[in-house]
Symmetry: C2
Subunit: 200 residues, 2 copies
C-alpha cells in the first residue's frame, strides 16, 4: 500500500491514494481535504474539479481503491507461493506478513483504510459504508478463489476467506493499539492448521 511504482500518476490518482493513506493513519474525521491535496502535491483547486461530490466522493474512491489494492495483493501472494508447498496457511501468513512488516517499518502508524471508513462512516455516510462493503467483497473474492485453487472445497472457501479477513483486521487493530506484532503472529499461528485442514 505504500509503493507507487515508477510511472508517474496523475494528480487525481495521487489524491485518491493520499486520501487512503491519511485516512488509514488518522481516521476520516481528522483527515482534511487540504491535507489530502498537500500530501499528494496536488493543487487544492483541483479537489472541487476532480471530486465535485466533495469529501464523500473522495472517501468513497479511496476505499474502493484500497479494496482493489488488497485484492491485487492476494493474487500476488498466491503467485508467490513456493511451487512445492502451496498451502492455505502459507498464503495467510504471506498476507499477514505484509501488514506486519509495514507495522514495524512505520512504527504502527498505518491501519486499514477500509476499517477506518467503516468505523467513522458506517452510520452516517451511506455511500462510504457501501464502498467499504464492496471493498471487503473485492478483497475476499480473490481470496476465496485462491483457497479453492489450493484445494479447499468451494463450500467452505468463502467462509474461510471471511475468517481470514476478520482475523487480520482484528489483529491489526490490536497490534496498532499495543504497538506490538504479537496479535498478528498469533492469528497466523493459530489459524494456520485450521486452514490447511480444510484442504481435501
Amino acid at each position: 500500500m505504500t509503493e507507487q511504482g515508477t510511472r508517474s500518476y496523475s494528480p487525481r490518482e495521487r489524491m485518491v491514494f493520499s486520501a487512503a493513506q491519511l485516512i488509514r493513519r488518522d481516521g476520516v474525521g481528522a483527515t482534511g481535504m487540504r491535507d489530502v491535496a498537500a500530501h499528494a502535491d496536488a493543487p487544492r483547486g483541483s479537489l472541487q474539479h476532480y471530486f465535485p461530490g466533495g469529501k464523500e466522493q473522495l472517501i468513497g474512491e479511496a476505499v474502493t481503491w484500497a479494496g482493489r489494492y488488497a485484492a491485487r495483493r492476494v493474487t500476488r501472494c498466491l503467485a508467490a507461493l513456493p511451487a512445492d508447498d502451496r498451502r492455505p496457511s502459507l498464503l495467510f501468513a504471506a498476507l499477514v506478513a505484509q501488514w506486519t512488516e509495514e507495522c514495524l517499518a512505520t512504527d504502527f502508524a498505518y491501519g486499514c483504510p477500509v476499517a477506518a471508513v467503516t468505523v467513522d462512516c458506517a452510520d452516517t455516510t451511506d455511500t462510504a459504508r457501501t464502498a467499504a462493503a464492496q471493498a471487503f467483497d473485492c478483497w475476499r473474492e480473490p481470496l476465496t478463489g485462491a483457497l479453492v485453487e489450493l484445494g479447499v472445497p468451494a463450500t467452505r472457501s468463502a467462509a474461510l476467506a471471511t475468517l481470514m479477513v476478520s482475523s487480520l483486521e482484528g489483529a491489526l487493530l490490536i497490534a496498532r493499539a499495543e504497538r506490538d506484532i504479537q496479535a498478528l503472529t498469533t492469528v497466523v499461528d493459530e489459524l494456520g492448521p485450521l486452514l490447511d485442514a480444510a484442504v481435501t
Copy 2:
C-alpha cells in the same frame, strides 16, 4: 453495552458512558464534547470540571470503561453457560451473539468503541492509544482465564483469546459495512471446532 441498570448514575459516569456510545457509533472525530453532554443529559459546564484534561481524557476514560465492560461480559457469559455442556465454542458463540443481537436491534449503528479509538487515535493521541491497548488486555484477561477453566491448556489459552477477540472485532467491522450478520456467524461457525479441539 446499552443497558445501564436501574440505579441512577452520576453526571460524570453518564458522560463517560455517552462518550463511549457516541464514539462507537460516529467515531472519535465526529463526536463533539457538546454532543456528549447533551446525550448524557449533563450540563455542558461540567465537562471542564470533571474532565480538565479535555477530550483526550474523556476518550481515555470512555475506552477504559468499555474494556471493563467487555470483561464483565465475558465472565457473565461464562457463568451463563449450561452446566452440562461447557465448551469454549459456546462461550465464543455467546459473546458474539450479544454483538449480533445488538447489530440487528440497532440496525448496525454501533460498533466497538475500542476499535474506533484505535483507528482514530493510534498515531496521534498516545494516551488514547494506551488506553485502547489496556482495554484489549482487560478484555482478553478474563477470556484467557475462562478458556483455562473450560479445559484449554494455559499455554494456548492466551493465544486463543487473542484469536477470538481479533475475529470478533474484524467480523464486526465487516458486518457493519455490509449491514449483514453473516460475517459474525461465520467466524463463530468456523472457529468453534478449533476452540473445542484445544480442550485437553
